[in-house]
Subunit: 465 residues, 2 copies
C-alpha cells in the first residue's frame, strides 16, 4: 500500500552542519517530551481534540455519500460559501484530485467547484454576472453562522436563487454545514428545510477537513471520500507509537520545534513540487499559523511565538524564491512535498539535437526533468546549509491525501505541546473582527467605533499621494 515517506536526511547536522541541522542530542532530548505530548493529545480525542475520531465516523460518511449520490447529475456547479477552515481543505482536495482545467472541461457528468472564500465585490459580482444560480448547489459552511463573509454571501445568493426559482424551489439548491444545535444557521435550516450536515463538537475549524466541512463538497465533485478517511485512519494507526523516529507526526512536530527553538529559524517553507499539491500548502499554512502563532503561553506569559509558513511551488518558484532560499538569511527550513509517480507521462521530442542547450532534453520524460530539478534544488539547499525534509507521496490518491491531512493535524497538535501554547484557540482574530463590526455600525459596538474615530483624529496622517 502507498505510504507517505518522510526523508529527513538533510535536516541533520550531518548534512547541513550543527548550526543549522539537528543533532542526535537535540533529537534525543525531545524523545520523552514527544511521547508525553502524544499521550496528552491522545487523551483529549473524545474532548476538544475530536479531529482524531473523524477517520472512523463512517456513519456520517454514509449520510454524506447518500446525499451526494442523490444530487448526481443535478447541478453543473458546486459553490462553497465558506472561508478559512471552511474553504482551504475543500480547495486543496479538489486541486489534488482533479485536472487543473477541470472547471473548463469537467467531463463525465461531474460538476465544477467554486470556492468563493472572499467578499471582494469584484469576485462575487463577477460570479453573479456570469453564473446562473439555478445551475448551482451552494454549500454554506459556518459552525456559528455568524461569520460575516459567509453569511453575507448566503444572503446574496439565497436572494438570487429565490428571485430565479421561487421560495420553494430554491431550497434544493442549498446545503448547510453548521452546528448541530446552536448558532444562527441551524434555525434557518429548520425553517427553510435545507439539507444539512453538522460541524461536530470538539473539532476546530482548521481541523475539520475530514468532517462534513470538507467531505460534503468533495463527495459532490466525485472524490472518493471513503478513501480519504481510510488514508487518515492508516496514518492514525501509524502515529500510535511513542517512538519519535517511527511516528511521522512526532517527527514532523519535533523538526518544526527544533528548527525554531534551537536553530533560530522562524520561517517554515512548504515547497510543493507538483501543481496538484500546491493548495495543501495553503491548507497547512492556516493550520500551523492559527494554531501555533500565539502571544501567550499556557501560563499566561507573553511569548509571541509561532513559525511563519511560506508557500512555494516547484519548479515554478525556483525562478522566483530559490535565490533567496539559497543565499539569503539562515532563517528558514524547508519541507519539500514530492510525488514519486505522477499520473501523466509527457515525452520531450528529440529535435534540435545539434544545440547543446536542447540536446540533453530530447527523448527524456518531462517527469524526469521535474524530478531532476527538485533534486537539484534539494542539493543546492543542502550544500548552502539550508535544512530540508522531503515528504513523498508515492502517488496522489485519496488515500495518500488522507494520510497527509491527518499527519499534519496531529503534528500541529503535538507542536502545541512543545511550544507550550493553546493550539486550539485564535484570540488574535477577534480584534480585527470587532473593529470591522464597529466600522459596519453593528449594534453594541458603538463605543469601539468612537474609540477608533478618536484614535484616527489624534494621529497625524503621513501620506505620499
Amino acid at each position: 500500500m502507498d505510504r507517505l515517506k518522510l526523508d529527513w536526511t538533510h535536516l541533520t547536522a550531518d548534512a547541513v552542519g550543527p548550526d543549522h541541522g539537528i543533532t542526535e542530542a537535540e533529537l534525543e532530548a525531545l524523545r520523552e517530551p514527544s511521547a508525553a505530548a502524544l499521550r496528552a493529545v491522545r487523551a483529549r480525542a473524545e474532548q476538544d481534540l475530536r479531529f482524531q475520531t473523524l477517520p472512523y465516523d463512517l456513519e456520517t460518511h454514509g449520510r454524506i455519500a447518500e446525499y451526494a449520490e442523490a444530487q448526481r447529475g443535478r447541478f453543473e456547479n458546486i459553490v462553497v460559501l465558506g472561508i478559512g477552515g471552511s474553504a482551504l481543505g475543500n480547495r486543496a482536495l479538489h486541486t489534488a484530485m482533479h485536472s487543473p482545467f477541470h472547471e473548463l472541461f469537467p467531463g463525465e457528468g461531474l460538476p465544477r467547484l467554486f470556492v468563493l472564500d472572499n467578499v471582494d465585490p469584484d469576485l462575487i459580482g463577477e460570479f453573479l454576472d456570469r453564473v446562473d444560480p439555478s445551475t448551482c448547489l451552494f454549500n454554506v459552511i459556518s459552525k456559528s453562522g455568524s461569520t460575516a463573509e459567509t453569511m453575507s454571501q448566503f444572503l446574496v445568493f439565497r436572494r438570487a436563487l429565490i428571485e430565479r426559482l421561487g421560495e420553494e424551489a430554491h431550497v434544493e439548491h442549498v446545503v448547510v454545514t453548521t452546528d448541530a444545535r446552536t448558532g444562527v444557521l441551524r434555525p434557518i435550516v429548520e425553517e427553510a428545510g435545507y439539507a444539512s450536515f453538522e460541524v461536530p463538537d470538539g473539532v476546530g475549524g482548521r481541523f475539520s477537513v475530514l468532517s462534513p466541512v470538507g467531505l460534503v463538497s468533495s463527495a459532490l465533485i466525485g472524490i472518493d471520500t471513503l478513501g480519504l478517511l481510510k488514508g487518515a485512519a492508516h496514518m492514525d494507526e501509524r502515529c500510535r507509537t511513542e517512538d519519535l523516529l517511527e511516528n511521522p507526526a512526532l517527527l514532523y512536530a519535533a523538526a518544526q520545534t527544533l528548527m525554531q527553538r534551537e536553530k533560530g529559524k522562524p520561517i517554515a517553507v512548504t515547497f510543493a513540487y507538483g501543481h496538484r499539491l500546491r493548495h495543501l500548502a495553503d491548507w497547512y499554512a492556516q493550520l500551523v499559523a492559527e494554531s501555533i502563532g500565539k502571544r501567550l503561553d499556557r501560563a499566561g506569559r507573553e511569548v509571541f511565538t509561532g513559525p511563519t509558513p511560506v508557500r512555494a511551488v516547484g519548479v515554478t518558484d525556483q525562478h522566483s524564491q530559490v535565490q533567496l532560499y539559497v543565499e539569503g538569511p539562515h532563517d528558514k527550513w524547508f519541507t519539500l512535498l514530492a510525488i514519486d509517480q505522477p499520473d501523466h507521462q509527457v515525452a520531450i521530442p528529440t529535435d534540435f539535437t545539434d544545440r547543446d542547450a536542447l540536446a540533453y532534453l530530447g527523448g527524456r520524460g518531462m517527469g524526469e526533468l521535474f524530478h531532476a530539478e527538485r533534486e537539484g534544488t534539494r542539493i543546492a539547499l543542502t550544500e548552502a546549509g539550508r535544512p530540508n525534509l522531503t515528504l513523498s507521496f508515492p502517488r496522489v490518491t485519496e488515500h495518500t491525501l488522507g494520510q497527509y491531512l491527518y499527519l499534519m493535524e496531529l503534528a500541529v497538535a503535538v507542536m502545541g505541546e512543545h511550544y507550550g501554547i493553546d493550539a486550539f484557540d485564535q484570540p488574535g482574530v477577534e480584534a480585527g473582527k470587532v473593529a470591522a463590526y464597529a466600522l459596519m455600525g453593528r449594534e453594541g459596538y458603538e463605543a469601539r467605533r468612537a474609540e477608533i474615530e478618536a484614535a484616527r483624529s489624534q494621529r497625524t496622517p503621513r501620506v505620499c499621494g
Copy 2:
C-alpha cells in the same frame, strides 16, 4: 487622474511605538542616502538598468500592438511558455484586468490566457490531453533560449503543432520573445520564420514586465498596453524628485530597509485586498527575493541578507494568517494593497433582520464590508504594534497597474543601494540548475554528477517511511 497613494501613517513610531515603528531620526538619516541611491540608479538607465526606459519605448509598443491586432479573432487560447520573470507579470496583469472567470467565459471575442510556468507532467499532460493546440497561439519567452523548463515545453508543443497542422502551418501558432542576436532561440526563429520580439539588453528578467516579455501576451488578450506604459511613465516622473517623502520609490525602499535593518523584521508581507491584485504580490515576491536575497555584498563580504516576501490575500487570509500576524513574533511588516473603488457593487439583501448576527449586514454593500474588514485588520495590526503601510489604487486600471509595476521596480533598485548588494544578478539559482543538468546527464556535467553520487553514498539516509 488616478494616482497611487502610499499611506505610511501606521509605519511610524507614533503609531506602533519606537521598537517597531520608524522614527523621524531614522527617516532623516536615510534622506541623503536615498537621494544618492536615486542618482546612482538613474545614472544607469542607459546601461544595465534599462527598465527605466521601457515606459517610453513607443516604437516597440507600436509593433506589438500591430502584431496583436493582426491576430485578433484567430486564436481561442494564448499560451505563455515562460517561467519566473517571463510568467509572473503576464499572469498578474491578466488577473488584474480580467474576470476571475475569464477562462470559462472569455466573452467579446477575447482569447483565454494560460501561463504554463511549470514542467509538472500532471499540468502539461492535462493541457495536452484537453486543449487542441491548433486553437492556441504559443508565446515562448526566454532571453537565452536555454531555460530548461521553457525549452522543453517549446519542444513538446512545437511537435504537437506540427503533428496537427504540418511543418508550414504551425509557424503561425508561435511567437517568440528572446534576445535580439544571441542565444539558442534566435537562430530557431530565423530558420522557422516565427514572429518574434526582443528582450531588450540591460533589462533583467524580473524587471521586464513592461518590455515585450509582458506586453505581447497582454496585448493579445486585449489589455490596454499603452495605458500600462503611460502609468509607468507617470510614476517615473513622480519619482524624479530626490525628496524622500515625495518620491514613492524612495519612500518604499526606505521603509523596507529600515524595517529589516533597524527594526529587525526579516519578513515583508504583501497583503493584497482584492482578488484582482493578488498576483501582483507574486510578481513582487520574485522581484524583491531575487534582487535583494544575497549572500555577498558589493565588497564581497558574506551578509546573507534580504527580506522574505510573504503573500496574503484579504479578506481570505484574515481567516488563515492574521492570528499569527497579530499575535506571533514581531518579525514582520505589512504592505496592504487596497482598491478605493471596486468595479462591482453587490448589495446585501435585508433578510433575517431579527437575527443580530445578520441584521447589520442587510442593506449594505459587499464593498462596504470588504472595506470595513480591511480597516479592521489594519487597526488590529496597528494596535498590536505591527507596522503597516497601505498602498491604494484609486481604481484598478492599466494606468494604475503601470504605476505600481514601475514603482516597485524602482524601489527595489534603490533597495539594492541601501542593502549594498548587487540587485541585478542571481548567483544562487545557478547551483540548483547545475545539479539538475548533472542529474539529467547533460554533456559537460559528468564530474558534478559523480560528486553528487559520492555525497549521496556517504550519507546515512534518515527515513520514516
